[in-house]
């Protein structure tokens, strides 16, 4: 009997279904569960109310990130509400025997940065967290997605959630990315083509030369933004790049276990002839450095282009106009040369070492523009140490920049890192929603290179002019 060709996604999904409910969701087993201080407390409260416990404490990992200050982390957290959430995470972890990397722990950092960097995330796993950018971990060939607090409670109490299997989409991009075009530009470009709801209901596999030639950091940036396309998540088949990245990480398998894992990991790919519910393809040649101009990540374009006319945009009606009004932009304006007030380098999208290296290539030998306030926030303490060891900090300091301490920071502005109302921020994070970076803040999403170019010129600048 011939076996039906299957996709990478099918292989991982199907091997984690414990029960199929007729006319209902699958009972889906979760290998790894990340929790942080914001979306977990009510789930723990739920356990208490129902008088049930954590079924597999060693499959859950806690880190504090969303609410943490990014300066003076050695001092007590000033905001009493934030301090309370951090304390709750610590207490709940201790109570149920869950690993906890709190503030000042050398392993602490943004959940989607520390998971991969410590080898907790591995190919073929199912991974969830109460944060939508859990999709980041898909870069390793894992099925990873964000869940709500009710589901956090489900995973804590049973290691399962109830999920209908999403449809499958493959996005293939062949060719070679041009000068100044980096990983972040790829998903921003896809978003500009398919909109912020273009992949709703799907799980994406990214395939083709562009992703094959990308580093693990770059792949994480791509999968991170799959959620912004409306997809449940995105994944990339593991290959030598993946294995090299994982080898020797703290929690990666070692010795015989490594060899055994490798055999399994090599089976994790889409068979030739496997079918997808939707297939899209783009060419690397069409991708320029990208920047967004509106209030959802789908409203972006090549940096040298003008803001599109409403008539040229799908859904270009009232919502589009409202979006431009919020941004203080007009149709058909040039984006290059727009004044910028803030630059944010960081988040689980672009807070890894490669992002800091990229930023440094542009600021090296230049000076921070006077009108710019720059927040450079490493994704973890490990990234922070790398920045120092590699001499990047010296380059940044010489150019007039300083480094903050790890955390989510201005990505969601839950701590004090808020962009003031009406100000423009070129941000390497993932969301440009109204008020996302602070009430009234205006966000332009872009790559670390575009952020660096804005940081040294004070205006939106094509990074290719500075490379």
């Amino acid at each position: 009997m011939s076996v039906k060709p299957t996709t990478l996604f099918d292989k991982v999904w199907d091997s984690h279904v414990i029960r199929k409910i007729e006319d209902g969701p699958d009972v889906f087993f979760i290998d790894r569960h990340f929790i942080h201080e914001v979306t977990s407390p009510v789930a723990f409260l739920g356990l208490q109310t129902r008088n049930i416990s954590v079924m597999f404490p060693d499959r859950t990992f806690a880190t504090a990130d969303h609410n943490t200050p990014t300066i003076n982390q050695h001092l007590p957290v000033e905001d009493p509400l934030s301090a309370n959430q951090l304390k709750a995470l610590e207490d709940n972890s201790a109570k149920y025997g869950i690993s906890h990397w709190g503030l000042n722990n050398p392993k602490n950092g943004i959940v989607h940065v520390v998971g991969p960097e410590n080898g907790i995330t591995l190919p073929g796993m199912t991974i969830v967290c109460g944060d939508s950018h859990t999709s980041t971990h898909g870069a390793f060939g894992a099925i990873a997605f964000g869940i709500g607090t009710s589901e956090v409670e489900m995973v804590l109490s049973s290691q399962c959630i109830m999920q209908p299997k999403p449809k499958k989409m493959r996005i293939t991009i062949n060719g070679k990315l041009g000068k100044g075009v980096v990983a972040k530009d790829v998903p921003l470009y896809i978003l500009s083509q398919i909109s912020a709801s273009g992949a709703t209901g799907y799980f994406i596999e990214f395939a083709g030369e562009v992703f094959e030639n990308m580093s693990m950091e770059g792949r994480m940036t791509v999968c991170n933004l799959s959620i912004e396309m409306g997809a449940r998540g995105g994944m990339i088949a593991p290959d030598e790049t993946t294995f090299n990245y994982l080898k020797g990480r703290e929690k990666s398998p070692k010795g015989d276990a490594w060899d055994k894992a490798l055999v399994y990991w090599k089976t994790l790919k889409t068979d030739a002839d496997a079918e997808f519910d939707a297939e899209l393809s783009f060419s690397a040649d069409d991708i320029d450095p990208q920047i967004t101009y509106g209030t959802n990540p789908g409203l972006g374009t090549g940096i040298t282009k003008n803001i599109p006319l409403s008539t040229a945009v799908k859904d270009g009606g009232a919502s589009y106009k409202k979006s431009l009004a919020y941004m203080g932009f007009a149709e058909d304006e040039k984006i290059i040369g727009k004044k910028v007030d803030y630059v944010f380098l960081g988040s689980c999208t672009n807070g890894r070492i490669e992002d800091f290296r990229a930023f440094a290539t542009i600021v090296k030998g230049r000076k921070k523009a006077d009108n710019i306030t720059a927040w450079l926030v490493p994704g973890s303490h490990i990234v922070e140490s790398q920045i120092k060891e590699e001499g990047i900090l010296d380059i940044l300091n010489e150019a007039g920049f300083s480094l903050r301490q790890p955390g989510c920071s201005a990505c969601l502005a839950m701590n004090d890192d808020k962009i003031p109302a009406g100000k423009y921020a070129v941000s390497t994070s993932n969301r440009n929603f109204e008020g996302r970076q602070g009430p009234g803040a205006r966000t332009l999403l872009a790559s670390p290179l575009v952020a660096a170019a804005a940081a040294v010129t004070g205006v939106v600048t094509d990074p290719r002019d500075l490379l």
């Binding site: 009510v42 709500g148 959630i161 008020g435 009430p439």
Partner: protein, 198 residues
Amino acid sequence: MAYDKFTILKSSAVPLPIENVDTDQIIPARFLKATERKNFGDNLFRDWRYNNDDSPKKDFVLNNPIYSGKILVGGKNFGSGSSREHAAWAIYDYGFRAVVSSFFADIFKGNALNIGILPVTVSPEFLDKIFKAIEADPKAELEINLPEQTISILASGEKESFVINGYKKHNMTNGFDDIDYLQAMKDEIKTFTANSAY
């Protein structure tokens, strides 16, 4: 958390004819600092609803007394953005039991169902009819019949059916949740882990 059973809901509705209403608008991140589920309704649509000095913005629909009801009607791609269940809590705690749109973001839809809000997906044409009916009469009533899976505009009698899977429908009509279901499966889950790769 237990929620009220949902069978037939007859109510006027609050219109929010905006597309891509994202979770940061439904509840901004700075209101996610609680460790209990309390009073989230107060901050529903906070930045659209209130000025910086906490005075209500007159032109926002929740501040307009002519609109009320247990049904929120939103534009396409409702609930996009973060996984925060707080968005669904805020809607529920404010007093809504159903949200109607022509398109919901996945995670929001799942969260809503998990806490007892019924997301009703209608065709773009029907959504338009609902907005028009409310525009003509702010007190226009809608009826959402979960057992029959229909939504109607009572004044005109126009009706459309909607989709929901049998499992979730059973849960909603009985006020059950998934945790009850999973607790009963623990042995099966243990057996599964004995042979899993991780």
